[in-house]
Amino acid sequence: GSSPSPRPAAGCPQRRLGPRERRDLQREILAVLGLPGRPRLRAPPAAARLPASAPLFMLDLYHAMAGDDDEDGGPRERGLGRADLVMSFVNMVELDRALGHQEPHWKEFRFDLTQIPAGETVTAAEFRIYKLPSTHPLNRTLHVSVFEVVREQANRESDLFFLDLQTLRAEDEGWLVLDVTAASDRWLSNRNEDLGLRLYVETEDGRSVDPGLAGLLGRRAPRSKQPFMVTFFRESPNPTRVPR
């Protein structure tokens, strides 16, 4: 006949969920989203933290990514490339050798990378530091270079590994983005060897400049202009899932 059979569906079980099952299902969905529970935050509520530089940058990234999400993903993806996970790292420790006339001047930045989940591959990493216009040195070209601290030595300079160099004018203002992918990659494979990043500023004739005097802002800067690191990860093809 033209009407469907009155027999119950044999293939797909369909039933309403009870309130407890519904709650369990919500927990499962959150776990799938990587939100298994509330973290133990070490800082004041989000309202006080939101104007900080890293969350603001990440929120911009989220809006860009949300636009991509609506478009099925795949080859049309923009901006974030192949990244599944983006983490920003707050600068935990800042060391300075900019006091007095001792040269060369440098600034060192350290980050807590212990929270990176297993099974991720680094696709890119950036160190972002804000630069204000500087009148010292006046009308000069500056070279800003960043190094990974590979080994600390007791009685001499630390061993460094060159990562990136940017050339700019002393009067320039804005976010300076330095490529630190190589260091992030190494830190991910050897998590105990995270000794930080070291920043040098030089004039064209090779004279060392105090990064602070060159206009580069550190931890004492306004929250929206503090330096941070952002790392882009790609999930491994076969992520290990906890049985649930």
């Binding site: 469907p4 044999a10 973290p39 989000a46």
Partner: protein, 139 residues
């Protein structure tokens, strides 16, 4: 008859399933026998209700869409499914114990992203591919 029929066949015969539309004023959601046709449903998980918005920065909640409903194809109906699903439904009518009914399942998925703090106050942006059901259909 076969020869003439072949001539009239469209070139593209292996089309992907037509997704079921979201219910509109002309949609027969409950079908002709009070049963709900295969369509998209929503289970909204509110991060605000859970009190998580102090550490989940965005979004405010997650729409977990899922597919639910009957995959029945009366012969006079507009068949919103693959040929395979229609044939499977007909064979199911003949041999219900041997062949299961066609399933109401997602036909189109998209990604979603979540932005949140971890316990070190680092901010994490995580993208989940093939997470959001955009359309449902019968398979």
């Amino acid at each position: 008859a076969v020869r003439s029929l072949r001539r009239r066949l469209p070139k593209k015969t292996n089309e992907l399933p037509q997704p079921n539309k979201l219910p509109g004023i002309f949609d027969d959601i409950h079908g002709s026998h009070g049963r709900q046709v295969c369509r998209r449903h929503e289970l909204y998980v509110s991060f605000q209700d859970l009190g998580w918005l102090d550490w989940v920065i965005a979004p405010q909640g997650y729409s977990a869409y899922y597919c639910e409903g009957e995959c029945s194809f009366p012969l006079d109906s507009c068949m919103n499914a693959t040929n395979h699903a229609i044939v499977q439904s007909l064979v199911h009518l003949m041999k219900p114990d041997a062949v299961p009914k066609a399933c109401c399942a997602p036909t189109k998925l998209s990604a979603t992203s979540v932005l949140y703090y971890d316990s070190s106050n680092n901010v994490i942006l995580r993208k989940h591919r093939n997470m959001v059901v955009k359309a449902c259909g019968c398979h």
